[in-house]
């Protein structure tokens, strides 16, 4: 399926990427080539084939991953905020949400 600059611009928007025009122009032919490569899968008849879900082995699927619902130690506010680019007053600070 042909992919246009508009398609890529729309995908960039969905992916929260602000692509400048020059990058957009490089990505269009590259993504077109990769998508047409992956479309070789269409040649395979997969009628009735169950899609694989995740990467678990049969033993992994059998593993009970539940644990007791008990309070455990957590990072705490100071540590959780330590790497934030803009923390203030015990919160993550962000630019205006409503404009």
């Amino acid at each position: 399926m042909p992919i246009s600059e508009n398609d890529i611009a729309k995908v960039a928007q969905l992916a929260h990427l602000e692509l400048p025009d020059d990058e957009l122009k490089v990505f269009v032919p590259q993504i077109t080539e990769i998508v047409s490569y992956v479309e070789q899968l269409n040649a395979l008849d997969t009628h009735g084939v169950e899609p694989a879900l995740g990467g678990l082995t049969p033993d992994g699927e059998k593993t009970d991953s539940s644990r007791a619902d008990e309070v455990q130690a957590c990072l705490g506010q100071r540590t959780a905020l330590a790497e934030a680019p803009a923390a203030a007053e015990g919160h993550f600070r962000v630019p205006k949400v409503l404009t």
Partner: protein, 465 residues
Amino acid sequence: MFREPVEFSLNAAEKLNDTLNAFLQIDREGALRRADELEGSTRGSLSGLPVAIKDNICVKGLQTSCGSKILGAYHPPYNATVIERLYNAGAVIIGKTNCDEFAMGSSNENSAFGPVRNPWDTSKVPGGSSGGSAAAVASGIVPVALGSDTGGSVRQPASLCGVLGLKPTYGRNSRYGLVAFASSLDQVGIFARKAEDVAQVLSVIAGRDPHDATTADVPVPDYKKALSGDLKGARIGFPSALFGKGLDSEVAAAVKEVVEVYKELGVEIVEVELAHASYAIAVYYIIATAEASSNLARFDGVRYGFRAEDAAELRQMYRKTREEGFGPEVKRRIMLGTYVLSAGYYDAYYRKAQQVRTLIKNDFTTAFKQCDAIITPTAPTPAFALGEKVDDPLAMYLNDIYTVTANLAGIPGLSVPCGLSSGRLPIGFQLLGPYWSEPTLLKMASEYERVRPFTERPKINAEES
């Protein structure tokens, strides 16, 4: 007693880093302090062993950049489970190794901090994405390093650098503290120069972890014990269809020579078919990018890492941060993943890929009824030149043609060095096995090593520095 090997590794890492760019951080102070603390304490199975860690695995006190500007000098507040286990066994972490950004790449050229160079020839790539770990082990800086393998990111650089590289069964190792790229494919792997070292480290890091629900409740054997004994009566599958087009003739010849060695060791070679192997790259680049587009949504400039300046409102801040913080390959994969998951395309791409993934899994199930392991090349060519494939993403992706199937099927894979090309670049072969067959693969590697020891050393190496 423990100071000496640790100091040797630190000195070599510092000395060779100008040439190799294998390390993003070298922790001299912490490593020496740790070596001193080990004196007089109870000995663990890895006491004093210097280890290098790929920079997408969290080590408290050190940076975790994932080779990306968007994380930069991020310092995680906790240790990955595999790191806790290494520490408990007495290992000493000497630093964090360079890698392709968020483990996306096959040449290490996608690191925001410059490419790693291959210690055999510095004009060549070390492979990727765990290129720094592979180069650090190959050059003798450390005996062991950890990496991560989503589509071949441990095995392919191991092959290109002439060391062993193991991708364990999915669910063997905990992914807690490994920065997620594609969660259904990612697995922490091990680099070493001897099968015995891979076995010893695997015995330490493997096993169920309550912090990772995908770890399986399967007993962890003593992998080192599994190395002894001969291979008489063992069967290795040979998928002859994979030895055709696109495979370098020297690599093909080297791997066929390995088959002869195994015959001499009493192994029966059986022809096997992996009918859907040629579709693996297509399946992989749908599933891996789809999962990546979701996993990498968390890098938004709010909780950690880089934030772009001068954004007037929240959404613009997200977009500018991600545009400025991610490199081109990561953006390309996020875009591709978003595209294949977007409304109207999901069934055509993602569902279809998951169906073919089932067919690939079934191929292995059938093949392993006839054999204990399958042999293939690890990479189609020896190391290629820096810059050779950077403008052609698809050509770069095809490097993983022999390795991605193991991630899609969840089975273990081990790359083992088996000689040098005429250009003196390492060649590796790959052993693939059924779920939980790491003991078999390691024993096969160990027996090969015994009769065909790989004693060549790269030009850039710690012994001569």
